[in-house]
Amino acid sequence: DACLRGFACSERHEESSASENQLFDIIISGGGMVGTAMACSLGLDPNLAGKKILLLEAGHKKEMDGVPETYSTRVSSISPGSATLLSLGAWDHIANMRCKPYNKMQVWDACSDALITFDKDNLQDEMAYIVENDVIVAALTKQLQTLSDHVKVQYRTKVVKYTWPRPYHVSESIPWVQVTLANGKTLQTKLLIGADGPNSMVRREAGIPTVKWNYDQSAVVAVLHLSEPTVNNVAWQRFLQTGPIAMLPLSDTESSLVWSTSHQHAEELLQLNEESFVDAINSAFWSNENHSEMVETAGSLFRTTLSVLMPDSGSARQLPPSVAGIGPKSRVMFPLGMGHATEYIRHRVAIIGDAAHRVHPLAGQGANLGFGDVAYLTKVLSQAAFNGKDLGKSMQHLLEFETERQRHNLPMMAAIDLMKRLYSTNAAPMVLLRTFGLQATNALPPLKEQIMAYASK
């Protein structure tokens, strides 16, 4: 028995002469919201107990002992589905830190009076939550610390190279993915998960083709101080000529601004002094100067017809709270684009989150799509582990993840892109189309419910 094994042993020594070539079961590259959520989700799964998991993050550890007084500018709208995923411990931390549920969303046009409101019946249930990105990451990091026996994290760790294995087993070649770090060390893993953002190195190096384009838009984000305290549980979004402006509630006195507009306008906005900036925001939400008579007449005619056919279906247009000031040092801008990886998987690789799909913030879905990826990939890997499979080699399971998530993500991305294009123009036919479309949709509760259900997953 020993003799037989002797031959194979000596071969093996060549490859693993340095025992620093640690072999992990899963390495996650990228410790943002989605990457950290993936690490937590894998760590908590009972079928993956005992697997060696590592999270690599280039930045430093984000801890929050107490919530800082000022709100941070980058926020996400977390759907109930994502909240369920995060409720594996992390949600408690989030709830203890800071989050704001909202019950209603009003979306309307600058060029007409058409509007659509989404709400769960009678403002009782929460539609979604606005949470600062920093809070999410800190909560997940805290959760991760309780799993430190089999989920390891390395911060301030930059990856410089990935080496891919051959799909066929060839002797004397290492069958695992090799991750070379900036400090010279090389790690090996049976499965690499890329959660490294829209400019994903994993995706690039794996040669996964991506369909992407830049919107000629940048988003300006800021923290707004409201003129007066209010029951701030509504999310507002208005489609202007240059792009949508959104106000998302953070507390009774503060809201978050996400204003998508042309690059030039965005830069101008950043240059304005505080007073002018606040004026610009208020006027963007309140002014009606872009209404054309024709569209207004047509719109109100349509609305009357609808209210005859379907009474109780209209909503009165409400106005968002007015803004008095902005948080100190809180104005930032970043470019917007759309991106979709044509494949989410390769041999021993999977990509999730923004690395796989990047969307316009107008629907507040970016983070949710990522969390949806996390939930499904965990489920699929859990099943594979329970069947004794090699996690990275089981293409059957990885394909299941890719198919299911693409089926969910693509329609959403297409819809968001369509909305963006539809609302980017002032041409009368388009305006009429979207006016009628919005009003009609608003008048059809079943349709609205479907939309909300899809977005809440």
Binding site: L4, R12, P46, Y168
Partner: protein, 336 residues
């Protein structure tokens, strides 16, 4: 396209047999032919030559392992390695059969023993994989935490299996391979295993009595025997012999002997006569278009069987506690 898939089906079903059957022409090494001749002797159950051939096999094994492989051997060995472990290659059907066999084995063992450890449901169990080939079934069982011993009379397959599992330290610890026959092992490992798996093996043996007897010897009382094999029906003749061997000529004629197929009823009767009771029989079916296996009602072609070795003195709680392998402290004992 169909013929290719059918061919793969046939080859996949017959794969493990190809390397064991002494009539096959694909292996040219003299040394391995020797060991097969020895096997042939075993099968003919010649009492005079048995002792001699057993010693010869042992000698064979030791001699082979001490000589350095010559390049031709290495190449052949490497060629076989890629064949066994190419998930889209000739053994694809065997790999996809894992989707049925692994849950079948796992769930039945869990029914008997309960979950021993999260993440490693089969931890603490010793499993013997008879006719393991390249280790296609041994590896997933090892990943589920079991201590697996894979045996196969063909050296080359065993080496392939060892090489493939050598890259993964977890597997290396838990899965051991040995080039020997079941009869030889039975002498050393009396009542040593919690489970014996003989997947796609029984249809190649001439002496099922000896096989059943050896299984009975190596199993602990209350241990499980898992068999997957081909039924002896008209349907299995059409698919397993006519289509695979004569029509498509993928395998040399005579590799599979329809006479050696056994129906589940006959197998059940045989096992019962050796102190087993058959706990479950399920039909399996391969779809050559999708390359996937599925469970089905009819056992007309392929089937899987789970039998349990009767405990001589039924003393629940006593038998397992004495086993030297179940040494996890505070483990809850859980028997059906």
């Amino acid at each position: 396209m169909y013929s290719k898939k059918l061919a793969r089906l046939a080859f996949g079903l017959l794969a493990e047999s190809t390397f064991k059957c002494p009539l096959t022409r694909s292996v040219s090494s003299v040394r391995t032919l020797c060991s097969w001749t020895v096997c042939l002797h075993h099968r003919q159950k010649n009492p005079l030559s048995e002792g001699f051939s057993r010693r010869l096999t042992r000698l064979n094994v030791r001699t082979v392992s001490q000589t350095t492989l010559d390049p031709a051997e290495v190449r052949k060995f490497q060629a076989m390695a890629s064949k066994w472990w190419d998930l889209q290659g000739e053994f694809a059907a065997l790999h996809s059969m894992n989707d049925l066999r692994v849950p079948f084995i796992r769930d039945n063992l869990l029914n008997v023993h309960g979950i021993l450890q999260l993440g490693k449901p089969l931890a603490g169990l010793r499993i013997l994989d008879v006719g393991c080939g390249g280790g296609v079934l041994s590896e997933p069982l090892g990943r589920l935490g079991a201590d697996v011993r894979g045996i196969d009379p063909v050296e080359d397959s065993v080496r392939t299996a060892e090489l493939h599992s050598s890259y993964d330290p977890d597997l290396w610890e838990r899965v051991r391979y040995q080039a020997c026959t079941l009869e030889e092992l039975a002498e050393e490992e009396l009542e040593g295993f919690h489970a014996v798996v003989a997947s796609e093996v029984v249809e190649h043996l001439a002496d099922l009595d000896a096989f059943a007897s050896c299984c009975q010897q190596v199993l602990k009382p209350g241990g499980s025997l898992f068999i997957t094999t081909i039924n002896k029906t008209n349907l299995s003749y059409v698919f397993g012999i006519v289509a695979a061997e004569q029509l498509l000529r993928i395998v040399p004629s005579g590799t599979h002997d329809w006479e050696k197929f056994i129906s589940p009823e006959d197998l059940e009767r045989l096992l019962e006569s050796f102190g087993f009771y058959v706990e479950a029989i399920r039909g399996m079916m391969y779809n050559p278009l999708t390359g996937a296996w599925s469970w089905q009602q009819s056992t007309a072609i392929n089937y899987a069987l789970h039998a349990i070795k009767r405990k001589e003195e039924p003393q629940p709680g006593q038998v397992w506690a004495e086993s030297e392998n179940l040494d996890e402290p505070g483990r809850a004992t859980n028997y059906s």
